[in-house]
């Protein structure tokens, strides 16, 4: 299945792109997607441990690591929001 991943704010700079489409096995969870993303972009994992919390929104809602993904889902990776 295909899942689109979008990067926002500082995470866009760290990944060096605004989005990517990932091919994941059926039954993959948000946790698996993050592992894949961190293997593609080690700097993202580094920053998530050191400087900025990386938060995942699944189809626009705050996601949990155990959430199961479906074909066509969109995951947004964001730092803590800074509106105002």
């Amino acid at each position: 299945m295909k899942v689109k991943v979008r990067f926002f704010s500082i995470l866009k700079d760290v990944a060096g792109r605004e989005s990517i489409e990932l091919e994941l096995p059926e039954g993959a969870k948000l946790r698996d997607l993050l592992e894949e993303i961190y293997s593609l972009y080690p700097d993202l994992e580094k920053i998530s441990g050191e400087e900025v919390g990386v938060i995942a929104l699944l189809n626009g809602n705050y996601g949990k690591l155990d959430d199961e993904l479906r074909d066509g889902d969109e995951v947004a990776l964001i730092p803590p929001a800074s509106g105002g």
């Binding site: 704010s9 500082i10 605004e18 509106g83």
Partner: protein, 157 residues
């Protein structure tokens, strides 16, 4: 009726206030609290030239509306509207509006504060601060990280 969304242009505050009062006075409201956020012209002794806002749409608009609807159900509240601007904004330009009308000033102030905090912490809106000493990503509640590079661009000094 509760309303909330991302907007690009500034709101006419007189029009906003008049519209809320017209809608709520006859229902028993007697207080309106209006919070207006605007771009700072100076941060950490450095002059700010611009604050670039980006929102994850359509989800940011949906969340703003959900927050407005949630807080409109609070006791004594008759109307709440929450609007957040995006785009490249200059110092002094307005960025965020939270308007709450209620039966009492205590309820209006309290709900405006709670709704504002939820907007700031939950809604996927992000800002890049452009200052005389460089560009800074603003993370969460005011933490700033100097921008190292832009996507597809060479390393910045």
């Amino acid at each position: 009726m509760a309303d909330g969304r991302i907007i690009e242009k500034p709101l006419d505050l007189n029009e906003l206030v008049a519209s809320i009062i017209k809608e709520t006075a006859e229902k028993g409201a007697g207080a309106l609290v209006l919070f207006v956020g605007y771009v700072k012209g100076r941060v950490d002794d450095s002059e700010v030239s611009e604050l670039d806002y980006e929102a994850y749409e359509p989800h940011a608009s949906r969340m703003l509306k959900e927050i407005a609807e949630k807080y409109e159900k609070k006791e004594g509240v008759l109307n709440i509207r929450i609007y957040h601007r995006v785009g490249d904004l200059k110092p002094g330009e307005t960025t965020l509006y939270v308007a709450v009308s209620a039966k009492s000033r205590h309820q209006a102030f309290q709900v405006a504060k709670e709704a504002l905090e939820e907007v700031k912490h939950r809604v996927p809106i992000f800002k890049l601060e452009k200052r005389e000493d460089g560009e800074y990503w603003v993370i969460g509640n005011g933490r700033r990280i100097k921008r190292r590079k832009a996507p597809g661009s060479p390393e910045q000094s």
